[in-house]
């Protein structure tokens, strides 16, 4: 399958000496919806900047829709790519309609009326961009990214700074538009990534830590069991300790790692009840992206 985007031993060292990306190699297939995760300073925004062509790699190569960044044909690939930048400023002297007009001319195509209708921007077209509410500003940047009917979407923190209602609206739009397109979503919001993506790339300190389908990552992640008893978390922890099991308190409950949570749960539950603990919750937990992300990043640090 062809790649929507690819990094091959790509490095970026800034002029101040900071190495933002260190021989990074990964590819996202056409049609895949991948999220790019990582702690602050991991190199996520630099990766997006390299794909945008705004920065040039200091080593290695980067491809977008089959065209290498920096070549004469790259601009054509950019015309087939929609980018939602991270928290951009808004022009105080251009209206939303004028901005979308320039965007359409730069892409050389696009159905303005259709995009305006999809994002509900009809009443805002004459409003100066800086005067739009945060939610409408984000809708406008999404509309700009989709106006050129792109095959690939690069989304850099598309919901950062939005209130919960606007965030939900943007998620709904994204869920719709991402269905037919290859997507790379760069985000800190793990719930957002889990909701919208099916492939995960985790960067840390400029290197790729993990690149797997989310489902595979879940399968490989160590299962967990959540237990809660009327006597409280301390009593459960003590009972588990006598069996040589270590767990972590999580509020009123405790969470312990298991090799096979579903198989081990009944025996453990019987044993705890036999000891007189009034266990009222015993739930096998599916690993969340947050758990897997923390495992990957903290595992790397340790």
């Amino acid at each position: 399958m062809a790649s929507a985007l690819a990094f091959a031993e790509a490095s970026k060292r800034y002029r101040n000496g900071k190495l933002a990306l260190d021989s990074v190699s990964f590819a996202i297939d056409e049609g895949a919806r991948a999220c790019l995760l990582g702690p602050n300073g991991a190199g996520k925004s630099t990766a997006i900047r390299l794909l945008e062509g705004a920065l040039a790699p200091t080593g290695g190569r980067v491809w977008l829709l089959g065209e290498e960044v920096g070549t004469p044909w790259y601009l054509e690939a950019r015309r087939r790519t929609g980018v939602v930048p991270q928290g951009p400023g808004m022009y105080p002297d251009l209206s939303a309609g004028e901005y979308l007009g320039y965007v359409r001319r730069l892409y050389g195509r696009g159905d303005l009326d259709a995009v305006v209708e999809v994002f509900g921007l009809g009443d805002q077209l004459r409003t100066r961009m800086a005067q739009l509410s945060g939610g409408f500003q984000r809708r406008l940047t999404l509309a700009g990214a989709l106006l050129g009917e792109p095959e690939l979407l690069l989304l850099d923190e598309p919901t950062v700074g939005l209130d919960p209602v606007a965030t939900r609206d943007v998620h709904d739009y994204l869920a719709t538009v991402m269905r037919q397109r290859s997507t790379l979503l760069c985000t800190h919001n793990l719930a957002e990534a889990e909701k919208l993506c099916d492939e995960v790339v985790i960067l840390s300190a400029g290197k790729v830590l993990v690149h797997k389908p989310l489902a595979q990552l879940r399968r490989e992640s160590r299962p967990r069991l959540r237990l809660a008893a009327r006597q409280g978390a301390e009593a459960v922890l003590a009972a588990l300790k006598t069996r040589g099991l270590t767990a972590e308190a999580d509020g009123e409950a405790v969470v312990l790692a298991a090799n096979d949570a579903r198989a081990e749960a009944p025996a453990l539950l019987r044993a705890l009840l036999a000891e007189g603990l009034d266990v009222y919750e015993c739930t096998p937990l599916e690993a969340s992206l947050e758990t897997m992300f923390l495992e990957a990043v903290e595992g790397r640090r340790s």
Partner: protein, 247 residues
């Protein structure tokens, strides 16, 4: 405009539209040239004429002013100085609005997200600045030139030399604006850098106009400003990258 890519030409239209809507940019780009190209030369010329000073400068005059009568001092020293000043200052000050504000407001992120090269973005801004400057300066220069010719203060050769000076000063200013685009992170810093770049040029302008004889000093100054601008640009291109505009 044909020097620019199709993408850059679209951006030029955007920049000009924004410049024409910016009160600060318009005020700056109109007031300075009106004062420097029309008001000050007219006031100086008529005040010298009404004062009846027809003799040369008393005492030991610098070579560039030697033998000039009062009207000659205005035509061969004050007017070229203000022409060079407006040509150097006006485009670079206007560029603060197109280039630095874009960076300061983070609206450059919107542009980078579009299918354009960073070079297109910067060249479009410089081109828009130059076009607006030409739109303001050429009519004002025409007023000045017609006035000088009608009053018989100088001939067509002087007008041609002045036009050359204005063109070269503006080219120099655009080169400075480019450096400014890559160096300045905010409006305040850009004003400081602008002042730092323009001050030596003002010293050069005065030195040439005071030290060289009248027939050659204006063309020499024009060429010198062009060379200064191009050298600054060459040094900037060797040491700075376009990526700085995003950092």
């Amino acid at each position: 405009m044909t020097l620019l890519t199709a993408q850059a030409r679209i951006l030029v239209r955007k920049e000009i539209r924004q410049l024409l809507r910016s009160r600060g940019a318009l005020t700056t780009s109109l007031i300075l040239p009106v004062i420097f190209l029309v008001v000050v030369p007219a006031v100086q010329y008529f005040s010298f004429q009404s004062g009846g000073t027809s003799s040369g400068i008393p005492g030991a005059a610098p070579p560039g002013l030697a033998g000039l009568k009062a009207g000659g001092v205005v035509i061969y020293y004050l007017v070229p100085m203000f022409t060079a000043l407006s040509g150097v200052v006006m485009p670079s000050v206007t560029s603060l609005y197109t280039i630095v504000q874009e960076r300061e407001r983070k609206t450059v992120e919107l542009l980078v997200a579009l299918p354009v090269r960073l070079t297109d973005i910067i060249y479009a801004k410089l081109a828009a600045t130059l076009l607006v400057a030409l739109g303001v300066m050429l009519p004002l220069f025409a007023i000045q030139a017609v006035g000088v010719l009608v009053l018989g203060a100088a001939g067509p050769a002087w007008v041609a030399a002045e036009l050359l000076l204005l063109g070269c000063a503006m080219a120099c200013s655009i080169c400075l604006s480019f450096v400014l685009a890559l160096l300045a992170r905010d409006f305040r810093t850009s004003q400081q850098i602008n002042g730092f770049l323009i001050m030596p040029i003002l010293i050069v302008v005065n030195a040439v106009l005071l030290l060289l004889p009248a027939p050659i000093k204006v063309p020499v100054l024009a060429v010198l400003l062009l060379v200064l601008g191009l050298v600054t640009l060459a040094v900037a291109l060797r040491r700075l990258t376009f990526e700085r505009y995003l950092s």
